[in-house]
């Protein structure tokens, strides 16, 4: 029963919300995409096992016709200690059975240094056949340079399993270039033990209650939030949610991807709201000098009541026996209900596989990458590393309750805006992060934020 609910809610979510499209396109999802998963859904819910079987039978047959033994190279960031590691290993093991003629050599690199590596590889035309990338602007630069293989032909085969809305972030000029894996949103994680101490059994749903809760926590000597100032992306997890819940998803999306001006009073007010929370000492003042690892350890150690960060944390929280029963997840409450509403989230599919245009076996690699992406997504979802970009199948009842809670939030989603630093071109993203860190350091206020960005970015 539980399993069915999860599957259907996720699907409902997929159909309902709209995702921002990159590459200057409109934010609207392709309307014809929605019916496809809808039609498939009942069948899957009824017989997920059967679905899997038919696929396994199909694929080798296809391959036998299509090819000699080839070797493909892949780079990714699923290092040994990464939470995605297991899903890659499991998926690749499955793929070996499905594609006996393809040998996959895959290498994993550390996240930050991978960015250097992949960019140098693009410059030198040394890309492997399949590579991990972040969607939107990061991949967009490579697409512009003509280094990425277009996946439109292969995608036709997978249309029923991969809703087209999920490809918005890796679609440029109407063409698809990426295989989305898992997707994540920003979640408001709460330590319920601490909330209870302040007299709350649930995470407050309205902004007024939420602020009151923070005050009550303060009164009890509990720090409401922890946020790592040394890694600016952690600050954006808070700031972007606050801006979105103040000015609405559509407006924020226009600013992030469609080139609307930053000179927006709503943004300035939202920044001031955020800074007010800082001046009221809702945030641990030490956070400005900490890394995310340290802040997260503090949160799990019961130092903060709330921690806003990506839902990829679900797997870690759920894996910690001492902590998993204390933690709950919710979305940030609405600040200005005339402009925003619940269900407007920050996040979307960003982790992506792409195929190099220079690959000698690009067509086979594209096919392989699609199939592999589906399996990685499947196992990643089961492991709680994120929500599936692909239509889920199989038994999902073992998924941890936190991830299930997130999928319910997503099911009720109205619209999603991708993380600002992923959505913007690299240089702009950096300027943006600069200003965000100045906001967190209280060096500029809301007015300074919008003026600075408006003049530096356009």
């Amino acid at each position: 029963m539980k399993m069915k609910r999860v599957v259907s809610t996720v699907l409902a979510g997929v159909m309902a919300f709209s995702l921002a499209a990159c590459g200057g396109g409109a934010a609207a999802p392709a309307p014809e995409a929605a019916p496809a998963p809808a039609a498939e859904a009942p069948a899957e819910e009824a017989a997920p096992a059967e679905e899997e079987k038919t696929e396994e039978a199909e694929a080798p047959a296809e391959e036998a016709a299509s090819g000699d033994a080839i070797t493909l190279n892949m780079w990714c960031i699923a290092t040994e200690s990464d939470s995605n590691r297991h899903s890659y290993e499991a998926a690749i093991a499955d793929m070996e059975k499905l594609y006996p003629n393809i040998t996959l050599n895959w290498e994993a690199f550390e996240n930050e240094s991978y960015k250097t590596k992949i960019k140098a590889a693009v410059s030198a035309d040394e890309l492997p056949d399949i590579f991990f990338t972040w969607s939107c602007a990061f991949l967009g630069d490579f697409v512009d340079a003509g280094k990425v293989y277009c996946l439109d032909d292969v995608y036709a085969k997978y249309k029923s399993e991969l809703p087209e809305v999920m490809l918005g972030n890796s679609t440029y000029d109407g063409k698809h270039y990426g295989v989305p894996l898992t997707m994540n949103i920003v979640g408001l994680f709460a330590n319920m033990d601490l909330l209870k101490e302040a007299g709350y059994d649930e995470i407050p749903g309205t902004y007024e209650d939420f602020i009151k809760c923070c005050d009550d926590l303060k009164a009890k000597g509990i720090t409401p939030f922890g946020c790592a100032g040394k890694e600016t992306w952690c600050v954006t997890e808070y700031l972007e949610s606050i801006i979105e819940k103040s000015i609405g998803a559509a407006e924020l999306n226009d600013i992030f991807v469609n080139g609307a001006t930053w000179n927006n009073q709503g943004v300035a007010d939202a920044v001031d709201t955020f800074q007010e929370m800082i001046t009221k000492e809702y945030f641990d003042p030490a956070g400005i000098g900490l890394t995310n690892d340290e802040v997260k350890a503090n949160f799990m150690d019961g130092k903060y009541a709330f921690y806003m960060n990506g839902t990829w944390n679900c797997a870690d929280f759920a894996a910690n026996d001492a902590f998993k029963d204390k933690v709950k997840v919710a979305e940030f409450p609405v600040i200005d209900s005339s402009k925003s509403k619940l269900g407007q989230l920050i996040g979307g599919p960003s982790d992506t596989l792409a195929v190099a245009a220079s690959s000698p076996n690009a067509a086979a690699a594209a096919d392989y990458a699609m199939e592999l992406g589906k399996y990685i997504c499947h196992y990643g979802y089961l492991d709680g590393c994120g929500l599936p970009a692909w239509t889920p199948y199989g038994d999902t009842s073992s998924i941890n309750p936190l991830t299930q809670a997130v999928s319910e939030i997503v099911a009720g989603a109205d619209s999603m805006v991708l993380f600002g630093d992923t959505a913007m071109p690299a240089d702009d993203a950096n300027v943006y992060l600069d200003y965000v860190s100045q906001v967190y350091g209280s060096e500029i206020d809301g007015a300074g934020f919008i003026e600075g960005l408006a003049s530096d970015l356009r």
């Binding site: 190279n73 780079w75 960031i77 290092t79 040994e80 200690s81 990464d82 939470s83 995605n84 590691r85 050599n105 290498e107 994993a108 690199f109 550390e110 996240n111 240094s113 250097t116 590596k117 140098a120 590889a121 410059s123 030198a124 035309d125 040394e126 492997p128 995310n292 690892d293 340290e294 997260k296 350890a297 503090n298 150690d301 990506g310 990829w312 944390n313 870690d316």
Partner: protein, 283 residues
């Protein structure tokens, strides 16, 4: 004879004070080693807050097995040793030959050429990554040990030449003359007379080049894409995940990377110091 001047007039109180200073400073410099070792046996909770500098509550030797097993540190260690040793060897050989030509053969542009080589001390590594990568890629010369060995020896070359110069100008020129009279050419003089006399320079250059190569990350990260040829710094970095990092095994890997060096250094320290002394003054 030497003792006389050092002991003369020395104020006992001052002496005690100086000893205290030396010992305190020694503790400050030994502390990182203790820290690194205990760090490698702790869990994230202890590292981040619960027990930062104390002995581990629970000695997690499993950090080592996970660094060796899943992290594959044994192979990376071997690769690092191989790459470092060959880089140092090539750098020393090229530097000795060049220094010979620059200091012991008289020619017009010697000083100019020397200045040209010193330019290498100023070049930031980051700036050359992409150009070198493009060159190596055009030559189909990626993913070998030599992919790292050659750039490393090039980057240590300037310093090696500088150090060699210090040693070489110290060798009396009469030796060259004598060798010449005995019928040695320039090559004979170099290989039979000069090169053996430069032995003390080896450890000075070796230490410097070792520091450069052993911890080098950027080239190793970009130029090497297969884990067969990965070196320690990249391997250690790969122990951290995108959003979650278990720091204990990283500590263990750092110990694996550092302790052998430290032990070798301790055994050879007297020799190393003597070689520094031999090459000094000329700067």
């Amino acid at each position: 004879m030497e003792e006389r001047y050092t002991l003369k007039k020395s104020n006992p109180a001052l002496k005690v004070f100086i000893y205290i200073l030396l010992v305190v400073w020694a503790f400050i410099n030994l502390f990182p080693i203790y820290f690194m070792f205990t760090f490698s046996l702790k869990s994230n909770e202890e590292i981040f807050g619960k027990n930062v500098v104390g002995l581990p509550h629970e000695w997690r030797w499993s950090n080592y097995s996970s660094a060796m097993g899943t992290g594959n540190m044994g192979l990376y260690f071997f690769n690092s040793v191989l790459v470092t040793v060959f880089s140092i060897a090539i750098s020393i050989m090229a530097a000795m030959m060049a220094t010979y030509a620059l200091t012991r053969i008289k020619w017009k542009w010697a000083e100019m050429t020397n200045a040209f080589f010193m330019l290498g001390l100023t070049i930031p590594l980051q700036a050359s990554i992409v150009p070198v990568y493009v060159i190596l890629s055009k030559l189909h010369w990626l993913n070998h040990y030599s992919t790292l060995i050659i750039p490393y020896s090039a980057f240590t070359l300037s310093m090696s030449i500088l150090i060699c110069t210090g040693f070489m100008v110290d060798i009396p020129y009469d030796l060259d003359e004598a060798a010449r009279i005995d019928g040695c050419g320039l090559w004979g003089t170099f290989f039979r007379i000069i090169a053996p006399l430069l032995k003390p320079a080896l450890s000075t250059i070796g230490i410097y080049a070792f520091l450069q190569c052993w911890n080098e990350f950027m080239f190793a990260n970009v130029f090497i894409s297969d884990s067969k040829h990965r070196t320690l710094p990249v391997g250690i970095k790969a122990l951290s995940g995108a959003y979650t990092t278990d720091w204990g095994p990283i500590g263990a890997a750092l110990v694996i990377a550092t302790f052998p060096t430290l032990i070798i250094y301790i055994f050879l320290s007297r020799k190393i110091q003597d070689s520094f002394i031999a090459g000094a003054v000329k700067g």
